[in-house]
């Protein structure tokens, strides 16, 4: 549907039969919220909201131009909100004004069927917009939980919901105390440090071994390719709880063996165990991303390099590596986040000395839930936004590079 764009004029819909009733329904929705929060009752709120919605639609459509109409709707309803509900009323009023104004013009000027061909029936138009609305709700479902915890982490109280002060946008309702707790409390700093020790080492192991193997796998003649691939991918497919169970038995014996034979301390052997386990879990991601990058790699480049006298090592580092580097780095990021975010295996394999950040969050959530978790969660969300941006940039760069290479 979306690819057909009709640029001609759309017939103006009926004001009293279409634009006013729909805007009134939207007004009723905001009226319900206002009625509930001010204590006037739901029914009164709905009635008043519906009348107000219809009135706004009528006034905006018949009397004022688009720009003036939008701003005046925002201003008027915002002021009404401020008078009835204080600061939070102002915010809700501004939002309601913006939406009602937009709705009235969107309906009146035919924005709702702009991306549809003019012959679309009203049923199709309705379905098209309902579909968009449903998708919007699903996107909301995806993102809302993550967004909600960000303001909650600035809560001045030890609650996990919005306090009245927060809703009134009172500065006293907000504080950085949970962040302060995170950055001063050893219960959180030590796990943070452990995570930052374990994840990079695990990443280095998975990336170095994984890249080599991916290059091997992408050669044209590899015996037992399917079987080898299945084994290398298996840490991703086998449920974590099963990997953790298996590793629990094996790694405890391995730890004792290392302590007896190499005389390393219990703490060091603990770190080695967790790092090895996490490296194994990260390998499938490296294999998948690097193999995907190598699919587009032109092998005549290595032959050309060899032809000009480069040794295989030089060829690898000067020709092949720069081209597959984006894939390697995004594989490394996947491996890093796998280790950084992993809790089941470390719970079984590690000892208290190797407690990582997710482990501490897990115990926090299961036993004594502390609001500091929200601060940690917010920091991790920002961290993942940075990671996501990096991976996106790398992916585009890789596509550009591969687009440039002769095929």
């Amino acid at each position: 549907m979306a690819s057909v764009v009709y640029n001609g004029t759309v017939p103006t819909p009926s004001l009293t039969g279409f634009t006013m009733p729909v805007t009134a329904a939207m007004g009723a929705f905001f009226g319900l919220i206002a009625g509930q929060s001010t204590g006037l009752g739901a029914l009164l709120g709905i009635v008043v909201g519906a009348i107000a919605g219809a009135a706004i639609a009528f006034v905006l459509v018949t009397m004022v131009s688009y720009k003036v109409g939008r701003w005046s709707a925002i201003g008027v309803i915002g002021i009404i909100g401020l008078l009835t509900g204080g600061t939070i009323g102002l915010v809700v009023g501004l939002i309601a004004g913006a939406l009602l104004g937009w709705c009235a013009y969107w309906l009146h000027l035919g924005g709702y069927r702009k991306s549809l061909p003019p012959y679309a029936t009203s049923g199709q138009v309705l379905w098209h917009n309902t579909f968009k609305f449903i998708c919007g709700l699903i996107f909301f479902f995806l993102i809302a939980p993550i967004i909600t915890i960000i303001p909650l982490s600035f809560n001045a109280q030890d609650f996990f919901t919005f306090t009245p002060e927060m809703l009134a946008l009172d500065p006293a309702g907000y504080s950085l105390k949970h962040y302060q707790d995170f950055f001063t409390n050893d219960d959180w700093l030590r796990p943070m440090k452990n995570s930052l020790i374990i994840a990079p080492f695990a990443t280095i192991i998975s990336v170095s071994l994984g890249t080599l193997a991916a290059i091997g796998l992408s050669q044209s003649h590899v015996p037992f390719r399917r079987g080898i691939m299945a084994i290398l991918i298996s840490p991703m497919i086998v449920p974590l709880i099963i990997s953790a169970t298996g590793m629990f038995f094996f790694y405890s014996q391995m730890g004792l063996w290392m302590e007896d034979n190499f005389g390393i301390s219990k703490s060091l052997s603990g770190y080695i165990k967790v790092i090895l386990a996490h490296a194994a879990l990260g390998i499938p991601f490296v294999i998948i991303t690097v193999t995907a990058t190598l699919v587009g790699f032109d092998n005549s480049l290595t032959r050309a390099a060899a032809n000009m006298g480069a040794t295989p090592t030089v060829t690898f580092f000067r020709v092949q590596m720069p081209l597959i580097l984006p894939g390697v780095i995004s594989g490394a990021l996947f491996a890093f986040i796998t280790s950084f975010d992993e809790v089941v295996v470390v719970l079984f394999v590690g000892a208290a000395a190797q407690k990582t950040l997710p482990w501490q969050m897990f115990t926090g959530l299961r036993e004594q839930i502390s609001p500091t978790i929200l601060a940690v969660a917010t920091i991790l969300v920002i961290f993942s936004i940075i990671l996501l941006a990096t991976v996106e940039v790398l992916r585009r760069r890789s596509e550009r590079l591969r687009g440039m290479s002769p095929t």
Binding site: I134, L142, F162, H221, T245
Partner: protein, 540 residues
């Protein structure tokens, strides 16, 4: 390949075929060489641990290791007799148990058998404490007969191989002694004593680092000696100990005897219960299917496998619930993911990329963050309940129970796994040309027919790939159900974790894990068939 001038040759004069083969072989070797470090690494750090877990689910050597002679003696006994086994078995049990108690192995054995028959653990603990006094009466009577019986080296002088004794005298510390070697003659007329002393001596040397000839013999040795002498063997020993033994053999019939079964019954009357013995006998082989039977709510009985009583059946319910909830989550993911994937695949690239961020951000956000977000949102005093109460949809004293039940698990896990559905669906839908849909409509199809008959069948591979991925991931989930699932919303994985860390029934945990692994492997095979494991894509 051949013509009048012979086979085609390469530049170096070799036949071309051989030369090409060699090049191919070298190429294969190079590929394998590049792969081998990782393959080795994964083998050590992942495949072997999993294999060991599989092995542990059938392994059951502890009974045979701790009670070796009892297990052999029990062969002749059957629970059908309706009574406890005879003295011979109790004699073997005494000998095994005294060594096990010294090594502190009897409690481990007790906990192992306790999984099968609750109560056995305390039986073994109590018996381990008291078994050392058994045979004390005989020890005193032997001592009264001849003072030399009270000396620590008497037994080794009689029972040990003279060469071993001579060697043993040479070593500096007892820990360096060789394993005990028996005097072949003594073994013919004092078989039980020799066996009992061998385990005593080896325990003293290997575990304690003591010279057995300088350690006080256990009372059970006297018990064994009494049993041997009662059979009136022909004693052929030449040394001074020969007379001593013959005197003892002559005196034995007049000894005050001890009934071992009665002594055990005095420790705990459960020893006379045939069911206890039947449990020991059933679990005596080195490998057992007992853990697997437990994992599917069955148990080993005398008449073969049978269902457990109704009130003890939990695992099948749990497996069934895990499957059902994983299915619900998969279906929710399809219902929510399909429209979004469709929208993303059909919008102009710029808008689609922007909206893609909304899918990828949850994908990249820590699992713990998302789980804690849901825990906080779904609580009784959480944001969602606050909103519905505020809107007047629900009374304040009747808040929705959204957490610590199956609802909480399904909501949170649908959210967590939704990106894994959207991404494969999107990549499949991206390849479906929009012209097909328009062509169908121009030929007179309604919107629904065009979608259902033309578009949907082409998107089925995406649904298949996404569903299997989501299903595999959800079936083994542990963290989220543990935190938001309460008791009604937990999966089989939570039970596995419980057996690993709390009940310590590792064999059962391994058996449950093996069953789960088998299910996942089946799905993995299906995934490989439908999508191909090489085609897994991450992050679009």
């Amino acid at each position: 390949m051949t013509d009048a001038t012979g086979p085609m040759v390469a530049a170096d004069g070799r036949p071309l075929k051989a030369s090409l083969n060699r090049a191919l072989r070298r190429q294969k070797m190079r590929a394998l060489l590049l792969i081998s470090p990782l393959l080795f690494f994964i083998m050590i750090t992942f495949i072997i641990p999993i294999g060991q877990m599989l092995f542990r689910s059938v392994e059951n050597q502890i009974v045979g290791d701790v009670l070796p002679t009892t297990v052999v003696a029990l062969d002749a006994w059957s629970v059908k007799s309706g009574e406890a086994p005879g003295e011979e078995v109790f004699f073997a049990l005494t000998q095994d148990l005294v060594l096990a108690a010294e090594r502190k192995e009897h409690t481990r054995l007790g906990s192992r058998l306790n999984y099968e028959d609750p109560g056995i653990s305390s039986l073994f603990r109590k018996s381990g404490r008291n078994v050392e006094v058994m045979g004390e009466g005989y020890a005193k009577q032997f001592d009264a007969l001849d003072e030399r019986w009270a000396e620590t080296n008497t037994f080794s002088e009689i029972l040990a191989d003279p060469e071993w004794l001579a060697d043993a005298a040479q070593v500096e510390t007892a820990a360096d002694m060789d394993r005990f070697e028996v005097n072949e003659d003594a073994a013919t007329y004092l078989p039980r004593t020799v066996a009992a002393y061998t385990s005593f001596a080896n325990y003293m040397i290997a575990d304690k680092g003591k010279d057995p000839a300088k350690s006080k013999p256990w009372n059970t040795l006297h018990l064994a000696l009494f049993e041997d002498l009662r059979a009136a063997p022909e004693i052929t020993i030449a040394s001074a100990y020969g007379d001593m033994l013959r005197t003892a053999a002559a005196a034995v019939p007049t000894f005050e005897t001890e009934t071992l079964s009665a002594s055990f019954a005095k420790i705990d009357k459960d020893w006379l219960d045939p069911d206890v013995w039947s449990t020991i006998k059933r679990y005596s082989p080195s490998y057992t299917n007992g853990y697997f039977l437990n994992a599917i709510d069955m148990e080993k009985t005398v008449d073969g496998p049978a269902w457990r009583p109704e009130d003890q059946q939990i695992y099948l319910t749990l497996f069934w619930r895990t499957l059902l909830m994983s299915m619900t989550i998969t279906i929710s993911c399809i219902l929510l993911g399909y429209p979004v994937a469709w929208l993303l695949a059909n919008l102009p690239a710029r808008t689609a990329n922007l909206l893609m961020i909304l899918v990828l951000l949850p994908f990249w956000t820590s699992l713990l963050v998302r789980t804690s977000a849901w825990k906080i949102l779904l609580q009784q005093q959480g944001v969602i309940n606050d909103i519905v109460v505020w809107l007047g949809l629900v009374a304040d004293d009747n808040r929705l129970a959204l957490i610590n039940n199956a609802t909480g698990t399904i909501i949170a896990m649908t959210h967590i796994l939704l990106p894994f559905m959207i991404l494969p669906l999107y990549s499949v839908m991206k390849t479906i040309p929009p012209t097909y849909l328009r062509a169908a409509k121009s030929l007179g199809a309604t919107n629904w027919t065009a979608f259902w008959r033309v578009y949907f069948p082409q998107s089925v591979p995406g649904i298949g790939a996404g569903s299997i991925l989501v299903f595999i991931l959800s079936i083994g989930y542990y963290i989220t159900p543990e935190i938001v699932g309460g008791t009604k919303g937990v999966f089989i994985s939570n039970r596995i974790a419980y057996h690993i860390s709390s009940s310590l029934n590792w064999g059962l945990a391994a058996a449950l894990g093996t069953i789960l692994l088998a299910v996942v492997m089946l799905l993995y095979w299906a995934y490989d068939r439908i999508v191909g494991i090489d085609n897994v894509k991450l992050g679009g």
